[in-house]
Protein backbone atom coordinates (compact mmCIF):
# COMPACT_ATOMS: atom_id res chain seq x y z
CA UNK A 1 0.00 0.00 0.00
CA UNK A 2 2.87 2.32 0.86
CA UNK A 3 4.43 1.64 -2.51
CA UNK A 4 1.18 2.45 -4.24
CA UNK A 5 0.92 5.81 -2.48
CA UNK A 6 4.50 6.61 -3.33
CA UNK A 7 4.00 5.78 -6.97
CA UNK A 8 0.80 7.76 -7.17
CA UNK A 9 2.47 10.73 -5.57
CA UNK A 10 5.31 10.78 -8.07
CA UNK A 11 2.97 10.16 -10.93
CA UNK A 12 0.83 13.00 -9.73
CA UNK A 13 3.82 15.32 -9.33
CA UNK A 14 5.06 14.60 -12.84
CA UNK A 15 1.56 14.95 -14.15
CA UNK A 16 1.20 18.30 -12.48
CA UNK A 17 4.49 19.65 -13.75
CA UNK A 18 4.00 18.49 -17.31
CA UNK A 19 0.26 18.42 -17.73
CA UNK A 20 -0.69 21.56 -15.84
CA UNK A 21 1.22 23.94 -18.12
CA UNK A 22 -0.24 22.14 -21.13
CA UNK A 23 -3.73 22.36 -19.67
CA UNK A 24 -3.33 25.99 -18.72
CA UNK A 25 -1.87 27.00 -22.07
CA UNK A 26 -4.63 24.97 -23.70
CA UNK A 27 -7.13 26.84 -21.57
CA UNK A 28 -5.92 30.20 -22.89
CA UNK A 29 -6.10 28.98 -26.50
CA UNK A 30 -9.57 27.59 -25.83
CA UNK A 31 -10.61 30.93 -24.35
CA UNK A 32 -9.30 32.70 -27.43
CA UNK A 33 -11.12 30.24 -29.67
CA UNK A 34 -14.42 30.66 -27.84
CA UNK A 35 -14.03 34.44 -27.61
CA UNK A 36 -13.33 34.48 -31.34
CA UNK A 37 -16.82 33.19 -31.98
CA UNK A 38 -18.32 36.41 -30.60
CA UNK A 39 -18.43 39.85 -32.08
CA UNK A 40 -15.42 42.06 -31.39
CA UNK A 41 -17.01 44.20 -28.68
CA UNK A 42 -18.58 41.26 -26.89
CA UNK A 43 -15.31 39.40 -27.12
CA UNK A 44 -13.46 42.31 -25.53
CA UNK A 45 -15.93 42.30 -22.66
CA UNK A 46 -15.72 38.62 -21.74
CA UNK A 47 -12.08 37.94 -22.54
CA UNK A 48 -10.51 39.54 -19.43
CA UNK A 49 -12.74 37.57 -17.10
CA UNK A 50 -11.79 34.29 -18.69
CA UNK A 51 -8.10 35.15 -18.39
CA UNK A 52 -8.62 36.06 -14.76
CA UNK A 53 -10.82 33.10 -13.92
CA UNK A 54 -8.19 30.61 -12.67
CA UNK A 55 -6.61 33.18 -10.37
CA UNK A 56 -9.95 34.38 -9.08
CA UNK A 57 -11.04 30.85 -8.21
CA UNK A 58 -7.86 30.24 -6.19
CA UNK A 59 -8.04 33.61 -4.48
CA UNK A 60 -11.71 33.13 -3.76
CA UNK A 61 -11.24 29.80 -2.01
CA UNK A 62 -7.98 30.42 -0.16
CA UNK A 63 -8.18 34.12 0.69
CA UNK A 64 -11.51 35.83 0.01
CA UNK A 65 -13.73 33.21 1.59
CA UNK A 66 -11.61 32.97 4.77
CA UNK A 67 -11.50 36.76 4.91
CA UNK A 68 -15.28 36.99 4.88
CA UNK A 69 -15.47 34.24 7.49
CA UNK A 70 -12.94 36.15 9.59
CA UNK A 71 -14.89 39.40 9.39
CA UNK A 72 -18.04 37.60 10.56
CA UNK A 73 -16.11 35.77 13.27
CA UNK A 74 -14.75 39.03 14.62
CA UNK A 75 -18.25 40.04 15.72
CA UNK A 76 -18.87 36.78 17.57
CA UNK A 77 -18.03 35.55 21.06
CA UNK A 78 -15.26 33.07 21.77
CA UNK A 79 -17.37 30.00 21.11
CA UNK A 80 -18.73 31.48 17.90
CA UNK A 81 -22.39 30.94 18.77
CA UNK A 82 -23.44 34.50 19.52
CA UNK A 83 -22.94 37.94 18.02
CA UNK A 84 -21.39 40.39 20.43
CA UNK A 85 -21.15 43.52 18.30
CA UNK A 86 -17.90 45.41 18.66
CA UNK A 87 -16.83 43.72 21.89
CA UNK A 88 -13.72 42.12 20.40
CA UNK A 89 -12.64 45.44 18.90
CA UNK A 90 -13.34 47.20 22.14
CA UNK A 91 -11.14 44.67 23.89
CA UNK A 92 -8.32 45.33 21.43
CA UNK A 93 -8.37 49.08 21.85
CA UNK A 94 -8.58 49.04 25.64
CA UNK A 95 -5.73 46.67 26.54
CA UNK A 96 -2.41 48.14 27.49
CA UNK A 97 -0.55 45.22 25.87
CA UNK A 98 -2.33 45.40 22.55
CA UNK A 99 -1.81 49.15 22.35
CA UNK A 100 1.92 48.66 22.89
CA UNK A 101 1.82 46.04 20.15
CA UNK A 102 0.09 48.53 17.90
CA UNK A 103 2.74 51.15 18.62
CA UNK A 104 5.48 48.63 17.78
CA UNK A 105 3.78 47.80 14.51
CA UNK A 106 3.88 51.47 13.60
CA UNK A 107 7.64 51.44 14.24
CA UNK A 108 7.98 48.33 12.08
CA UNK A 109 5.88 49.77 9.27
CA UNK A 110 7.97 52.93 9.14
CA UNK A 111 11.48 51.55 9.44
CA UNK A 112 11.41 48.10 7.87
CA UNK A 113 10.32 49.26 4.37
CA UNK A 114 12.62 52.28 4.56
CA UNK A 115 15.69 50.22 5.34
CA UNK A 116 14.86 47.22 3.15
CA UNK A 117 14.01 49.29 0.07
CA UNK A 118 16.85 51.73 0.68
CA UNK A 119 19.58 49.14 1.10
CA UNK A 120 18.06 46.86 -1.54
CA UNK A 121 18.07 49.68 -4.06
CA UNK A 122 21.59 50.69 -3.13
CA UNK A 123 22.87 47.16 -3.65
CA UNK A 124 20.87 46.59 -6.85
CA UNK A 125 22.21 49.79 -8.39
CA UNK A 126 25.78 49.40 -7.21
CA UNK A 127 26.31 45.74 -8.06
CA UNK A 128 25.57 46.63 -11.64
CA UNK A 129 28.94 48.28 -11.85
CA UNK A 130 31.35 45.91 -10.12
CA UNK A 131 33.05 42.71 -11.15
CA UNK A 132 31.83 40.65 -8.21
CA UNK A 133 28.13 41.17 -8.97
CA UNK A 134 27.25 37.48 -8.59
CA UNK A 135 29.08 37.10 -5.29
CA UNK A 136 27.62 40.27 -3.82
CA UNK A 137 24.07 39.31 -4.78
CA UNK A 138 24.48 35.81 -3.41
CA UNK A 139 25.70 37.10 -0.04
CA UNK A 140 22.80 39.53 0.29
CA UNK A 141 20.32 36.89 -0.88
CA UNK A 142 21.65 34.16 1.44
CA UNK A 143 19.60 35.08 4.54
CA UNK A 144 16.37 34.55 2.59
CA UNK A 145 17.32 30.93 2.12
CA UNK A 146 18.15 30.32 5.78
CA UNK A 147 15.28 28.68 7.60
CA UNK A 148 13.77 30.86 10.25
CA UNK A 149 14.58 28.61 13.19
CA UNK A 150 18.26 28.72 12.27
CA UNK A 151 18.17 32.48 11.80
CA UNK A 152 16.74 32.69 15.32
CA UNK A 153 19.63 30.62 16.68
CA UNK A 154 22.30 32.81 15.13
CA UNK A 155 20.70 36.15 15.96
CA UNK A 156 20.41 35.17 19.58
CA UNK A 157 24.16 34.68 19.54
CA UNK A 158 24.59 38.03 17.80
CA UNK A 159 22.67 39.77 20.59
CA UNK A 160 23.94 37.57 23.45
CA UNK A 161 24.75 39.52 26.60
CA UNK A 162 27.98 37.68 27.43
CA UNK A 163 30.80 39.38 25.47
CA UNK A 164 32.66 36.06 25.32
CA UNK A 165 30.06 34.66 22.89
CA UNK A 166 27.82 37.57 21.85
CA UNK A 167 29.13 39.03 18.60
CA UNK A 168 27.90 42.59 19.11
CA UNK A 169 28.98 42.76 22.73
CA UNK A 170 32.37 41.31 21.85
CA UNK A 171 32.73 44.18 19.39
CA UNK A 172 31.78 46.68 22.09
CA UNK A 173 34.17 44.97 24.45
CA UNK A 174 37.01 45.31 21.96
CA UNK A 175 36.54 49.08 21.89
CA UNK A 176 36.25 49.19 25.67
CA UNK A 177 32.49 49.74 25.99
CA UNK A 178 30.10 48.04 28.36
CA UNK A 179 28.02 45.13 27.04
CA UNK A 180 24.39 45.92 26.24
CA UNK A 181 21.23 43.87 26.63
CA UNK A 182 20.15 44.51 23.04
CA UNK A 183 16.76 42.82 23.19
CA UNK A 184 15.84 44.14 26.62
CA UNK A 185 16.60 47.86 26.57
CA UNK A 186 13.51 49.76 25.53
CA UNK A 187 12.43 51.10 23.16
CA UNK A 188 15.50 50.52 20.98
CA UNK A 189 15.06 46.74 21.27
CA UNK A 190 12.37 47.08 18.61
CA UNK A 191 15.01 48.41 16.24
CA UNK A 192 17.27 45.47 16.91
CA UNK A 193 14.43 43.15 16.00
CA UNK A 194 13.80 45.19 12.86
CA UNK A 195 17.47 44.76 11.94
CA UNK A 196 16.90 40.99 11.88
CA UNK A 197 14.02 41.63 9.47
CA UNK A 198 16.20 43.87 7.31
CA UNK A 199 18.89 41.20 7.18
CA UNK A 200 16.31 38.66 6.06
CA UNK A 201 14.43 40.77 3.50
CA UNK A 202 16.97 42.97 1.75
CA UNK A 203 17.82 40.11 -0.61
CA UNK A 204 14.20 40.02 -1.67
CA UNK A 205 14.13 43.72 -2.51
CA UNK A 206 17.49 43.52 -4.22
CA UNK A 207 16.56 40.65 -6.54
CA UNK A 208 13.33 42.25 -7.70
CA UNK A 209 14.80 45.72 -8.07
CA UNK A 210 17.67 44.18 -9.96
CA UNK A 211 15.21 42.54 -12.34
CA UNK A 212 13.54 45.91 -12.85
CA UNK A 213 16.87 47.59 -13.41
CA UNK A 214 17.76 45.16 -16.16
CA UNK A 215 14.65 46.26 -17.99
CA UNK A 216 15.99 49.78 -18.44
CA UNK A 217 17.56 50.26 -21.80
CA UNK A 218 21.30 50.79 -21.85
CA UNK A 219 20.96 53.05 -24.87
CA UNK A 220 18.83 55.46 -22.89
CA UNK A 221 21.47 55.69 -20.17
CA UNK A 222 24.29 56.04 -22.69
CA UNK A 223 22.41 58.80 -24.46
CA UNK A 224 22.08 60.70 -21.21
CA UNK A 225 25.76 60.25 -20.46
CA UNK A 226 26.68 61.45 -23.91
CA UNK A 227 24.54 64.51 -23.20
CA UNK A 228 26.85 65.18 -20.28
CA UNK A 229 24.79 63.95 -17.34
CA UNK A 230 26.83 62.63 -14.44
CA UNK A 231 26.06 59.33 -12.72
CA UNK A 232 24.00 60.89 -9.95
CA UNK A 233 21.93 62.79 -12.49
CA UNK A 234 21.45 59.69 -14.60
CA UNK A 235 20.22 57.87 -11.52
CA UNK A 236 17.86 60.61 -10.37
CA UNK A 237 16.47 61.65 -13.73
CA UNK A 238 16.27 58.32 -15.55
CA UNK A 239 16.85 55.24 -13.41
CA UNK A 240 14.76 56.26 -10.43
CA UNK A 241 11.64 57.33 -12.36
CA UNK A 242 11.73 54.19 -14.50
CA UNK A 243 12.24 52.03 -11.43
CA UNK A 244 9.48 53.74 -9.44
CA UNK A 245 6.76 51.17 -10.23
CA UNK A 246 9.03 48.35 -9.03
CA UNK A 247 10.00 50.30 -5.91
CA UNK A 248 6.30 50.76 -5.21
CA UNK A 249 5.71 47.01 -5.51
CA UNK A 250 8.51 46.25 -3.06
CA UNK A 251 7.51 49.01 -0.67
CA UNK A 252 3.89 47.87 -0.62
CA UNK A 253 4.91 44.25 -0.08
CA UNK A 254 7.29 45.12 2.75
CA UNK A 255 4.78 47.47 4.41
CA UNK A 256 2.29 44.62 4.44
CA UNK A 257 4.97 42.26 5.72
CA UNK A 258 5.75 44.71 8.51
CA UNK A 259 2.07 44.97 9.41
CA UNK A 260 1.77 41.24 9.87
CA UNK A 261 5.31 40.63 11.05
CA UNK A 262 5.38 37.69 13.38
CA UNK A 263 8.28 35.26 12.97
CA UNK A 264 11.07 37.53 14.16
CA UNK A 265 9.25 38.62 17.31
CA UNK A 266 7.85 35.16 18.05
CA UNK A 267 11.25 33.49 18.01
CA UNK A 268 13.43 36.27 19.45
CA UNK A 269 11.41 37.70 22.35
CA UNK A 270 7.83 36.40 22.03
CA UNK A 271 6.72 39.95 22.70
CA UNK A 272 8.48 40.35 26.04
CA UNK A 273 10.24 43.63 26.93
CA UNK A 274 7.47 45.58 25.18
CA UNK A 275 8.33 44.26 21.74
CA UNK A 276 5.01 42.58 21.03
CA UNK A 277 3.36 43.03 17.64
CA UNK A 278 -0.29 42.54 16.81
CA UNK A 279 0.21 39.45 14.63
CA UNK A 280 1.81 37.71 17.60
CA UNK A 281 -1.19 38.58 19.76
CA UNK A 282 -3.43 37.32 16.97
CA UNK A 283 -1.60 34.00 16.86
CA UNK A 284 -1.72 33.57 20.65
CA UNK A 285 -5.44 34.32 20.71
CA UNK A 286 -6.17 31.90 17.90
CA UNK A 287 -4.17 28.83 18.82
CA UNK A 288 -3.26 29.16 22.48
CA UNK A 289 -5.88 31.18 24.28
CA UNK A 290 -9.00 29.84 22.57
CA UNK A 291 -10.16 33.35 21.59
CA UNK A 292 -10.83 33.10 17.84
CA UNK A 293 -13.17 36.09 17.98
CA UNK A 294 -10.45 38.42 19.25
CA UNK A 295 -8.00 36.90 16.83
CA UNK A 296 -10.39 37.64 13.97
CA UNK A 297 -10.85 41.22 15.14
CA UNK A 298 -7.09 41.75 15.00
CA UNK A 299 -7.02 40.35 11.47
CA UNK A 300 -9.78 42.76 10.44
CA UNK A 301 -7.82 45.64 11.93
CA UNK A 302 -4.92 44.57 9.69
CA UNK A 303 -7.22 44.62 6.65
CA UNK A 304 -8.34 48.15 7.49
CA UNK A 305 -4.78 49.29 8.12
CA UNK A 306 -3.70 48.67 4.54
CA UNK A 307 -6.50 50.70 2.95
CA UNK A 308 -4.37 53.86 2.71
CA UNK A 309 -1.55 51.90 1.09
CA UNK A 310 -3.98 50.51 -1.44
CA UNK A 311 -5.39 53.95 -2.25
CA UNK A 312 -1.89 55.14 -3.04
CA UNK A 313 -1.53 52.13 -5.31
CA UNK A 314 -4.74 52.90 -7.20
CA UNK A 315 -3.60 56.47 -7.78
CA UNK A 316 -0.31 55.23 -9.08
CA UNK A 317 -1.94 52.87 -11.56
CA UNK A 318 -4.18 55.59 -12.86
CA UNK A 319 -1.14 57.80 -13.40
CA UNK A 320 0.76 55.00 -15.07
CA UNK A 321 -2.07 54.43 -17.49
CA UNK A 322 -2.55 58.11 -18.17
CA UNK A 323 0.98 58.44 -19.48
CA UNK A 324 1.15 55.11 -21.20
Amino acid sequence: MFDAILENRLLAAILVVIAVPIVLVGYIYLVEFVVGLFRRTTAGRIRPWLWLAPALVFLGVFLVYPTIATVIRSFQNRRGDQFVGLENYQWFFTQNDTLIALRNNVIWVIFLPLLVVGIGLLVAVLVDRVRFEGAAKTVIFLPMAISFVAAGVIWRFMYELDPKIGTLNATLNAVGAEPRAWLVEQPQNNFFLIIVGVWLLTGFAMVILSAGLKGISTELLEAARVDGANEVQVFRRIVLPLLMPTIAVIATTIIIYALKTFDVVYTMTNGNFNTDVIANTMYQMLFNNGQPGRSAAIAVILFVAIVPVMIVNIRRFQEQEAVR
Binding site: V25, R47, S210, T218, P292, S295
Partner: protein, 303 residues
Protein backbone atom coordinates in the same frame (compact mmCIF):
# COMPACT_ATOMS: atom_id res chain seq x y z
CA UNK B 1 8.00 56.58 -20.94
CA UNK B 2 6.51 59.20 -23.14
CA UNK B 3 9.20 59.19 -25.74
CA UNK B 4 8.51 57.66 -29.09
CA UNK B 5 9.04 53.99 -28.85
CA UNK B 6 9.33 51.46 -31.57
CA UNK B 7 9.10 47.75 -31.40
CA UNK B 8 12.54 46.38 -31.71
CA UNK B 9 13.74 43.56 -33.86
CA UNK B 10 13.71 41.00 -31.13
CA UNK B 11 16.48 38.51 -31.07
CA UNK B 12 19.13 40.85 -32.28
CA UNK B 13 20.26 41.52 -28.76
CA UNK B 14 23.88 41.76 -27.98
CA UNK B 15 25.36 41.37 -24.55
CA UNK B 16 26.32 44.93 -23.77
CA UNK B 17 26.59 45.20 -20.02
CA UNK B 18 30.31 44.61 -19.69
CA UNK B 19 31.28 47.54 -21.79
CA UNK B 20 33.37 50.22 -20.18
CA UNK B 21 31.45 52.40 -17.78
CA UNK B 22 32.41 55.72 -16.32
CA UNK B 23 34.59 54.82 -13.33
CA UNK B 24 33.28 57.74 -11.32
CA UNK B 25 33.38 56.82 -7.66
CA UNK B 26 34.55 53.31 -8.45
CA UNK B 27 36.44 52.96 -5.20
CA UNK B 28 33.53 54.29 -3.17
CA UNK B 29 31.14 51.85 -4.88
CA UNK B 30 33.43 48.93 -4.14
CA UNK B 31 33.90 50.00 -0.55
CA UNK B 32 30.21 50.42 0.15
CA UNK B 33 29.40 47.05 -1.38
CA UNK B 34 32.15 45.23 0.43
CA UNK B 35 31.07 46.71 3.76
CA UNK B 36 27.49 45.62 3.13
CA UNK B 37 28.63 42.16 2.10
CA UNK B 38 30.64 41.80 5.29
CA UNK B 39 27.73 42.95 7.45
CA UNK B 40 25.39 40.52 5.75
CA UNK B 41 27.86 37.67 5.86
CA UNK B 42 28.75 37.92 9.55
CA UNK B 43 25.63 36.20 10.92
CA UNK B 44 25.81 33.58 8.18
CA UNK B 45 29.48 32.89 8.92
CA UNK B 46 28.66 32.65 12.61
CA UNK B 47 26.01 30.10 11.76
CA UNK B 48 28.40 28.16 9.53
CA UNK B 49 31.06 28.03 12.24
CA UNK B 50 28.51 26.95 14.84
CA UNK B 51 27.38 24.15 12.54
CA UNK B 52 30.87 22.63 12.79
CA UNK B 53 31.14 22.90 16.59
CA UNK B 54 29.53 21.22 19.57
CA UNK B 55 26.96 23.14 21.57
CA UNK B 56 29.26 23.28 24.58
CA UNK B 57 32.04 24.80 22.47
CA UNK B 58 29.72 27.41 20.94
CA UNK B 59 28.48 28.28 24.42
CA UNK B 60 31.98 28.59 25.82
CA UNK B 61 33.63 30.83 23.22
CA UNK B 62 32.59 33.06 20.33
CA UNK B 63 32.58 31.76 16.78
CA UNK B 64 35.42 34.08 15.85
CA UNK B 65 37.73 32.29 18.27
CA UNK B 66 37.15 29.01 16.44
CA UNK B 67 39.72 29.99 13.83
CA UNK B 68 42.56 29.89 16.33
CA UNK B 69 43.88 26.79 18.12
CA UNK B 70 42.65 24.59 19.60
CA UNK B 71 40.53 23.79 16.58
CA UNK B 72 37.47 22.04 17.90
CA UNK B 73 35.63 21.40 14.68
CA UNK B 74 33.36 18.41 14.31
CA UNK B 75 31.07 17.11 11.61
CA UNK B 76 28.80 15.35 14.08
CA UNK B 77 25.99 17.90 13.58
CA UNK B 78 25.90 17.13 9.87
CA UNK B 79 26.13 13.41 10.54
CA UNK B 80 23.16 13.64 12.85
CA UNK B 81 21.07 15.72 10.43
CA UNK B 82 21.82 13.59 7.38
CA UNK B 83 21.35 10.42 9.39
CA UNK B 84 17.78 11.22 10.44
CA UNK B 85 15.31 8.53 9.52
CA UNK B 86 13.31 9.48 6.45
CA UNK B 87 15.39 12.49 5.47
CA UNK B 88 15.90 11.20 1.92
CA UNK B 89 12.17 10.72 1.54
CA UNK B 90 11.58 14.20 2.94
CA UNK B 91 14.02 15.67 0.44
CA UNK B 92 12.05 14.12 -2.42
CA UNK B 93 8.78 15.29 -0.89
CA UNK B 94 10.09 18.84 -0.82
CA UNK B 95 10.58 18.69 -4.58
CA UNK B 96 7.22 17.03 -5.10
CA UNK B 97 5.58 19.88 -3.19
CA UNK B 98 7.66 22.81 -4.40
CA UNK B 99 7.91 22.35 -8.16
CA UNK B 100 4.18 22.04 -8.95
CA UNK B 101 3.36 24.82 -6.48
CA UNK B 102 5.82 27.08 -8.29
CA UNK B 103 4.64 26.21 -11.80
CA UNK B 104 0.99 26.76 -10.91
CA UNK B 105 1.55 30.16 -9.33
CA UNK B 106 3.72 31.52 -12.11
CA UNK B 107 1.36 30.49 -14.91
CA UNK B 108 -1.94 31.44 -13.33
CA UNK B 109 -0.54 34.73 -12.09
CA UNK B 110 0.84 35.52 -15.54
CA UNK B 111 -2.61 35.13 -17.14
CA UNK B 112 -4.26 37.32 -14.55
CA UNK B 113 -1.48 39.91 -14.60
CA UNK B 114 -1.70 40.14 -18.38
CA UNK B 115 -5.43 40.73 -18.22
CA UNK B 116 -4.95 43.42 -15.58
CA UNK B 117 -2.18 45.09 -17.55
CA UNK B 118 -3.42 45.00 -21.14
CA UNK B 119 -7.17 44.40 -21.22
CA UNK B 120 -9.87 46.95 -20.62
CA UNK B 121 -12.76 46.07 -18.35
CA UNK B 122 -14.88 47.90 -15.82
CA UNK B 123 -13.63 47.85 -12.24
CA UNK B 124 -10.18 46.73 -13.29
CA UNK B 125 -8.19 48.88 -10.89
CA UNK B 126 -10.46 48.18 -7.95
CA UNK B 127 -10.34 44.44 -8.54
CA UNK B 128 -6.59 44.54 -8.91
CA UNK B 129 -6.12 46.47 -5.71
CA UNK B 130 -8.32 43.96 -3.90
CA UNK B 131 -6.11 41.15 -5.20
CA UNK B 132 -3.01 42.95 -3.95
CA UNK B 133 -4.76 43.79 -0.69
CA UNK B 134 -5.21 40.07 -0.08
CA UNK B 135 -1.47 40.04 0.67
CA UNK B 136 -2.37 41.29 4.12
CA UNK B 137 -4.55 38.31 5.02
CA UNK B 138 -2.58 36.41 7.65
CA UNK B 139 -2.14 32.81 6.64
CA UNK B 140 -3.11 31.60 10.09
CA UNK B 141 -6.66 32.94 9.96
CA UNK B 142 -7.32 31.28 6.60
CA UNK B 143 -6.45 27.80 7.79
CA UNK B 144 -9.56 26.83 9.68
CA UNK B 145 -12.14 28.17 7.17
CA UNK B 146 -10.33 26.59 4.22
CA UNK B 147 -9.84 23.26 5.99
CA UNK B 148 -13.51 23.24 6.94
CA UNK B 149 -14.41 23.97 3.34
CA UNK B 150 -12.39 21.06 1.98
CA UNK B 151 -13.66 18.76 4.69
CA UNK B 152 -17.20 19.27 3.41
CA UNK B 153 -16.37 19.83 -0.26
CA UNK B 154 -15.15 16.59 -1.82
CA UNK B 155 -15.55 16.79 -5.60
CA UNK B 156 -16.12 13.34 -7.10
CA UNK B 157 -15.55 11.86 -3.68
CA UNK B 158 -11.90 12.96 -3.56
CA UNK B 159 -10.77 14.00 -0.10
CA UNK B 160 -8.45 16.92 -0.66
CA UNK B 161 -7.27 17.53 2.92
CA UNK B 162 -4.24 15.49 3.79
CA UNK B 163 -2.98 15.11 0.22
CA UNK B 164 -0.26 16.68 -1.89
CA UNK B 165 -3.02 18.21 -3.99
CA UNK B 166 -4.14 20.23 -0.97
CA UNK B 167 -0.62 21.60 -0.45
CA UNK B 168 -0.19 22.46 -4.14
CA UNK B 169 -3.51 24.27 -4.24
CA UNK B 170 -2.93 26.06 -0.94
CA UNK B 171 0.51 27.33 -1.90
CA UNK B 172 -0.91 28.51 -5.21
CA UNK B 173 -3.70 30.40 -3.50
CA UNK B 174 -1.37 32.00 -0.96
CA UNK B 175 1.30 32.83 -3.54
CA UNK B 176 -0.98 34.49 -6.10
CA UNK B 177 -1.43 38.02 -4.70
CA UNK B 178 2.27 38.78 -4.76
CA UNK B 179 2.80 37.00 -8.07
CA UNK B 180 -0.02 38.89 -9.79
CA UNK B 181 1.21 42.15 -8.33
CA UNK B 182 4.79 41.69 -9.45
CA UNK B 183 3.96 40.48 -12.95
CA UNK B 184 1.26 43.05 -13.60
CA UNK B 185 3.72 45.74 -12.69
CA UNK B 186 6.31 44.37 -15.08
CA UNK B 187 3.87 43.69 -17.91
CA UNK B 188 2.47 47.18 -17.45
CA UNK B 189 5.84 48.75 -18.03
CA UNK B 190 6.33 47.06 -21.39
CA UNK B 191 5.92 49.47 -24.31
CA UNK B 192 2.38 49.77 -25.57
CA UNK B 193 3.55 49.99 -29.18
CA UNK B 194 4.78 46.42 -29.11
CA UNK B 195 1.28 45.15 -28.44
CA UNK B 196 -0.41 47.65 -30.72
CA UNK B 197 1.67 46.73 -33.69
CA UNK B 198 1.22 43.05 -32.92
CA UNK B 199 -2.54 43.62 -32.94
CA UNK B 200 -2.28 45.46 -36.26
CA UNK B 201 -0.34 42.52 -37.64
CA UNK B 202 -3.36 40.43 -36.66
CA UNK B 203 -1.90 38.66 -33.65
CA UNK B 204 -4.50 37.48 -31.13
CA UNK B 205 -4.02 38.43 -27.46
CA UNK B 206 -3.01 34.82 -26.77
CA UNK B 207 -0.21 35.07 -29.27
CA UNK B 208 0.87 38.46 -28.00
CA UNK B 209 1.00 37.05 -24.50
CA UNK B 210 3.05 33.97 -25.27
CA UNK B 211 5.24 35.49 -27.95
CA UNK B 212 5.79 39.00 -26.62
CA UNK B 213 4.81 39.57 -23.00
CA UNK B 214 6.33 36.43 -21.49
CA UNK B 215 9.65 36.48 -23.34
CA UNK B 216 10.09 40.17 -22.57
CA UNK B 217 9.48 39.58 -18.86
CA UNK B 218 12.00 36.86 -18.19
CA UNK B 219 13.82 38.76 -15.39
CA UNK B 220 10.54 39.26 -13.52
CA UNK B 221 9.49 35.67 -14.09
CA UNK B 222 12.88 34.46 -12.90
CA UNK B 223 12.67 36.48 -9.70
CA UNK B 224 9.14 35.27 -9.09
CA UNK B 225 10.24 31.66 -9.55
CA UNK B 226 13.14 32.19 -7.15
CA UNK B 227 10.92 33.50 -4.38
CA UNK B 228 7.94 31.24 -4.83
CA UNK B 229 10.28 28.26 -4.87
CA UNK B 230 12.05 29.52 -1.77
CA UNK B 231 8.89 30.24 0.21
CA UNK B 232 7.36 26.88 -0.54
CA UNK B 233 10.64 25.07 0.09
CA UNK B 234 11.05 26.67 3.53
CA UNK B 235 7.38 26.53 4.46
CA UNK B 236 6.49 24.59 7.57
CA UNK B 237 2.97 25.61 8.52
CA UNK B 238 1.10 24.98 5.26
CA UNK B 239 2.77 21.61 4.82
CA UNK B 240 1.99 20.43 8.34
CA UNK B 241 -1.58 21.67 8.32
CA UNK B 242 -2.64 20.57 4.83
CA UNK B 243 -0.74 17.29 4.75
CA UNK B 244 -1.81 16.21 8.21
CA UNK B 245 -0.17 13.50 10.29
CA UNK B 246 1.29 11.46 7.44
CA UNK B 247 5.05 11.45 8.00
CA UNK B 248 5.77 9.77 4.67
CA UNK B 249 4.55 12.91 2.91
CA UNK B 250 6.34 15.51 5.01
CA UNK B 251 8.90 17.78 3.37
CA UNK B 252 12.42 18.52 4.51
CA UNK B 253 11.37 21.62 6.45
CA UNK B 254 9.18 19.55 8.78
CA UNK B 255 11.87 16.96 9.44
CA UNK B 256 14.49 19.64 10.08
CA UNK B 257 12.27 21.65 12.41
CA UNK B 258 11.92 18.55 14.57
CA UNK B 259 15.63 18.02 15.17
CA UNK B 260 15.59 19.47 18.66
CA UNK B 261 13.89 17.85 21.62
CA UNK B 262 10.61 19.20 22.91
CA UNK B 263 12.55 21.37 25.37
CA UNK B 264 14.80 22.75 22.63
CA UNK B 265 17.83 20.58 23.40
CA UNK B 266 20.17 19.90 20.49
CA UNK B 267 19.77 23.33 18.83
CA UNK B 268 23.25 22.90 17.36
CA UNK B 269 21.72 20.47 14.84
CA UNK B 270 19.56 23.30 13.51
CA UNK B 271 22.66 25.17 12.40
CA UNK B 272 23.80 22.26 10.26
CA UNK B 273 20.25 21.69 9.04
CA UNK B 274 20.10 25.29 7.80
CA UNK B 275 22.93 24.65 5.38
CA UNK B 276 21.58 21.29 4.29
CA UNK B 277 18.23 22.86 3.49
CA UNK B 278 19.73 25.94 1.87
CA UNK B 279 21.56 24.09 -0.89
CA UNK B 280 18.60 23.70 -3.23
CA UNK B 281 17.19 27.26 -3.08
CA UNK B 282 20.71 28.62 -3.59
CA UNK B 283 21.16 26.43 -6.66
CA UNK B 284 17.84 27.70 -7.99
CA UNK B 285 18.92 31.28 -7.30
CA UNK B 286 22.30 30.87 -8.97
CA UNK B 287 20.94 29.08 -12.00
CA UNK B 288 18.24 31.71 -12.56
CA UNK B 289 20.75 34.52 -12.04
CA UNK B 290 21.71 34.31 -15.68
CA UNK B 291 18.25 35.40 -16.71
CA UNK B 292 18.90 38.69 -14.96
CA UNK B 293 20.50 40.07 -18.03
CA UNK B 294 20.10 43.47 -19.45
CA UNK B 295 18.50 43.47 -22.87
CA UNK B 296 16.02 40.65 -22.48
CA UNK B 297 13.23 43.16 -22.77
CA UNK B 298 14.54 43.95 -26.18
CA UNK B 299 15.36 47.53 -25.49
CA UNK B 300 11.80 47.98 -24.40
CA UNK B 301 12.25 51.59 -23.50
CA UNK B 302 14.63 52.46 -26.25
CA UNK B 303 14.44 56.15 -27.01
Amino acid sequence: MTQAQAPVAIGAQVETRRRARPRLGGIAVNTVLIILMILWAIPAIGLLVASFRTAAATNASGWWTAFTPPWEFTIENYEYVLGRAGIDQAFINSFVITIPATVLVVMIAAFAAYAFAWMEFPGRNILFVIVVGLLVVPLQVTLIPVLNFFRDFTPAGIKINGTFLAVWLAHTGYGLPFAVYLLRNYFGSLPKEVFESAAIDGAAPGTAFFRLALPMSVPALASLIIFQFLWVWNDLLVALVYLGPVPQNHPLSVVLANLTTSFGGGWQFLTAAAFVSMVVPIIVFLSLQRYFVRGITGGAVKG
